[in-house]
Symmetry: C2
Subunit: 426 residues, 2 copies
């Protein structure tokens, strides 16, 4: 029996690039975490002959075949039919599954299309891999003594739930995942990848754990990866290295793994019992969206005013029109007035404001695309920062890094004021 | 010489699933569009021995090798070094590239880290594949008469610019891409994938063009794909099928390809010379963010009030507190008052409002998670819709489909009022 897994992603939309293959990478993370080696990821279209070719290869070189996609209700969803044909068994209707699918439609007050019934058919001998949130079930099947097959729908949120709730416990019970790779990603804002890499360069030579730098959309990351017999031992290898790295990077490190700047800011605000309101111009709602992306946002977020029109800046935020004329809308005095204005409008402890030139039009020699001002106001008044992002960047990226920079500004202020007593809430 | 291409994505962060491999799928789309067959996509880590193994296989079975990743400034970025070793040539400093990289740092008022200099080294005989927006250049190289190699950085926006501006013209000049696949994706909102598939079922049997249904995050799509000697012939095969499909789907189809609901709404508003303002509760800024994601948004978007706290709903939007107590915040009367309130606050032609239960907490039997109200106000007053999204969906998905549903409500109203004269601007 092969000791490795192989990932097969099925769907012509993947080959044609119509959708991004997030599934392969989620599964890759999970396989890495469980210490299950995998050497191949294959993408194949909704074509029975080609799917069978890939199955022939995979069933020779791997002991665990994981497929995603091709479980939908339409005529080109053929994964289960093709598996049945390949392993030479008929398809069987799973009555319980059919009832469950019908019930899902009823609950949502919709009529089930006849085509949905075919989702309740599985190859003879295969067990249902339950889908708790969608109509398409997957399967768990040992069609041969040396091959285990798991199938998942292509919809990422369904696949992930099914993987975590059913597939992982099943695999571990079967003896997979006896040595684990465990990674921890340290996340930094306000420092470039190359500066970060040079600052921690001795660590980049280590072997267990390894440390490797990455950069993405303005964020610099350090991935620490350890290999050990179990997660606890891996974590013990990682912990001292993480502590030393955090000692070096200090406030530049805002968190690890799934931590986001928004989540870190939310936690700090909740701990202090403080609230924030937001005034946005060029980011157009993105900062508000980030701050409310977390459950329980109403504890710290009161609301925002997206003042896109200049009239809204004066009417709703109380920014003096003369100030806009004298300094321009993208300026330190205007962003500070916006922050103070939104603080007053919502009666919040903190007011966070952004204005700038996101492009692609609107840039000048004095005020180029990528010039962004961020201000933070409290009862003590407002302070602002000027940023000059790469003017070649797309509008969306400039909006993203502006948003993250604003969150980072608030984060650093909250952390510093907790440590040194400056800008404390009165 | 092999007539197919092979995509190799390099980076341990891909194998470990730390980042999503969007590059493979962008390149897949492009290869499909150019009619260049590709049968394999491989992901490999930052490991010279394994990269060489993959190169050995790829250089046997493909005539065009496209790599992404491993061109950064850090010690684990090894793509060019490994290519040089594999094909047995030394690395050479490209003086012009070094000057360009130094100039980029100067422009951004940053000091170049010494490690960035290595990005200007290429294998002997390779030409620079210029990177107009980042420090890492790629290469164009024929290391053997039967193999062409193109390398790209892993950063998607850099890779895409380099592909479109340099690689595609180069490949076409070399005789690649003589028969094209051309796809057009029709996009629908407010109809399920299975209902859509059944409504257009005769078209799903076609061969050239083919028609295939997809669904993603509440949106139902139909992909029409034609194969022809050139894009113009492919478009001619697609056009009549598209026309017939649009005849069947009517207003459910909001656009094609890169069209978004936000872009379609923007175009309709600009054409009518009208403006919109937004009031958001559960979507927390996402609707505003969508409406401002396009350049020139100030022509139609005046701003928004994200009224997360109930006090903000009364103070800033003028929603009667008694109304919120009587009907609950997630209710038709409240959402209509929000839409009317934001219309007045900004003096806009249209006011669009959303309130509901995005979860994961806050749901009750009467007001379950996924219950969302959307209202559209004009000088004639307000109308609202109730939606009941799947309560098992994650918060973020409920926020997304709520936002798209609001945009679709405005879109349908604008299109209908143009056709039938209802709800016309006074």
């Amino acid at each position: 029996m092969g000791i490795s897994a192989e990932i097969i992603c099925i769907g012509s939309e993947l080959l044609l690039g119509q959708i991004v293959n997030t599934n392969a990478h989620y599964l890759a993370t999970e396989l890495a975490r469980l210490g299950i080696p995998h050497h191949y990821q294959t993408v194949v279209g909704d074509n029975p002959a080609r799917i069978k070719e890939v199955l022939a290869l995979a069933s020779e070189r791997a002991g665990l075949i994981i497929t995603t996609g091709g479980l939908g209700p339409t005529v080109d969803d053929l994964t289960h039919e093709t598996l049945a044909e390949f392993f030479g068994v008929p398809m069987v209707l799973q009555n319980e599954e059919l009832k469950r699918i019908e019930a899902m439609f009823q609950e949502r007050q919709r009529v089930m299309a006849p085509s949905n019934a075919k989702q309740a058919m599985l190859p003879l001998g295969a067990a249902v891999l339950p889908n708790p949130i969608g109509t398409a079930p997957g399967l768990i099947w040992q069609p041969r003594s040396d091959v285990t097959v798991l199938t998942f729908p292509g919809v990422p949120r369904e696949m992930k739930r099914m993987w975590a709730e059913t597939a992982v416990p099943y695999l571990q019970a079967q003896g997979w995942g006896q040595e684990v790779f465990y990674s921890r990603m340290l996340r930094h804002w306000g420092i470039s990848e190359s500066t970060l890499a040079e600052r921690v360069s001795p660590f980049l030579e280590g072997s267990n754990p390894t440390v490797a730098p990455y950069a993405h959309a303005g964020e610099a990351k350090l991935r620490i990866t350890a290999r050990a017999p179990n997660p606890e031992s891996a974590r013990q290898l990682i912990a001292p290295v993480e502590a030393q790295l955090r000692e070096i990077t200090g406030l530049d490190c805002f968190g690890a793994d799934e931590d986001s700047l928004a989540a870190v800011v939310a936690e700090l605000l909740i701990k202090r019992g403080e609230t924030v309101a937001v005034a946005e111009s060029c980011t157009g709602g993105l900062l508000s969206e980030q701050l409310t992306s977390l459950s329980g946002a109403s504890q710290y977020f009161l609301g925002s005013i997206v003042a896109y029109a200049n009239m809204a800046k004066s009417d709703l935020l109380g920014v003096d029109t003369e100030l806009m004329i004298a300094h321009g809308v993208a300026s330190a005095p205007v962003v500070e007035a916006m922050a103070i204005g939104v603080c007053k409008a919502f009666g919040s402890d903190w007011g966070l404001a952004i204005t700038g030139i996101a492009g692609p039009s609107g840039g000048t020699a004095q005020k180029p695309i990528g010039l962004v001002y961020i201000a933070l106001a409290s009862a003590q008044g407002a302070v602002s920062q000027q940023h000059r992002f790469n003017s070649r960047w797309e509008r969306e990226l400039i909006r993203q890094v502006s948003t993250q920079s604003a969150l980072d500004f608030l984060r650093r202020t909250l952390v510093r004021s907790a440590s040194f007593g400056i800008m404390e809430k009165q």
